[in-house]
Symmetry: C2
Subunit: 207 residues, 2 copies
């Protein structure tokens, strides 16, 4: 099976839509989804102003658990990953839905609820979560890999061809045919011989 890597941040509604899309199309295309993490809080932290994106001066993975809004979700995501790739995907989808459909905070209660909805083993999840230093190391590795790749936002997809791109859309579709059409458009853009680097709408902002 070919694999698509998705860089995501649970805070990001575009990452949520992107993962729902990939989840719908993956079985149709025989793809597996590998989830990795990129942190908007780390990328946009005030301490980073003026520094290149590859040189973060503020490391999310080293912060106290009660500080940043996203750290607990990322560590929970790495805990869920211990139960396998499919369990990780189900957990991520449920946590995204709790955040972006139900407007929930990414707190411990939401993590436990996502574990339950996704059918993961809660006891094992809690034990893995409590191995916090291991989870923090895994998170740091993901954020470093994202920086190496030049990821600047979520979702960023890495296709089996090696092509990678940020893909931002505002209307979620989970209807299989429409989802497939949208995904094929995205991959066709990345595989076109003109080497398309960017398609981006201007955003009209009032002066």
């Amino acid at each position: 099976m070919q694999s698509v890597t998705v860089y995501l941040d649970y805070l990001c509604p575009f990452a949520w839509r992107g993962l729902e899309l990939a989840h719908v199309v993956a079985p149709q295309l025989g793809l597996t989804l590998k989830l990795r993490h990129y942190s908007l809080e780390q990328a946009h932290h005030p301490d980073k102003a003026g520094l290149p994106p590859q040189a973060p001066s503020w490391h999310l993975a080293q912060q106290p658990l009660e500080g940043p809004r996203s750290l607990r979700a990322f560590l929970g995501s790495h805990a869920a990953r211990q139960q396998g790739q499919a369990a990780h995907l189900r957990f991520a989808l449920e946590l995204f839905r709790l955040r972006h459909q139900d407007g929930r905070e990414l707190d411990e209660e939401a993590l436990v609820e996502a574990v339950g909805r996704a059918g993961l083993d809660l006891e094992r999840f809690m034990a893995d979560f409590e191995e916090e230093e291991s989870r923090r190391l895994e998170l740091a590795r993901d954020l470093e890999a994202a920086a190496q790749l030049g990821v600047f936002g979520t979702p960023t997809f890495v296709l089996p061809s090696g092509d990678a791109a940020y893909f931002r859309f505002t209307q979620l579709t989970t209807e299989p045919e429409l989802a497939l059409e949208l995904w094929e458009l995205f991959t066709a853009v990345l595989h076109n011989g003109a080497h398309i680097e960017t398609i981006r709408r201007p955003r009209i902002t009032s002066a």
Copy 2:
């Protein structure tokens, strides 16, 4: 005939490729091309740091002719436009090729050569160019229209549907079928029901 508006800057190699593409597909699709201007020198001027893009503190159209690298080309473009839309397009293509194929500066000699290659009336071009205040007013109007639309780079295309986007690719194709395929991919992205806002590859930069 339906019309596509292209915002361009003669300094920009992506605008050159974009215009060559549009030039190849326009007759196949029964489209006319209307050229307008956006200035990278104005957008990225140091005086603008920290200001919103809609509030330029440095206006290209008010600068001396011998200062910025792009002003003479923009005023020449407005002079060429006085000879009609088709003449304007031919002039723009020739000036882009002189700059980005032949590596020429955008000086008076290059303007005159573009006029010749494009088959425009040189005497009329020079007279229109010398009506410099009118050309500067037209340029200021274009740059203001670009700011209103939220244009942030060139080329930005405005399709007959009203959808607008920046479209950046690195491999020029003028082969009609491949060009049409590339254009149709671009328009399909903008017309897809998911309202795609951005597809953008990460750029790997060494730390």
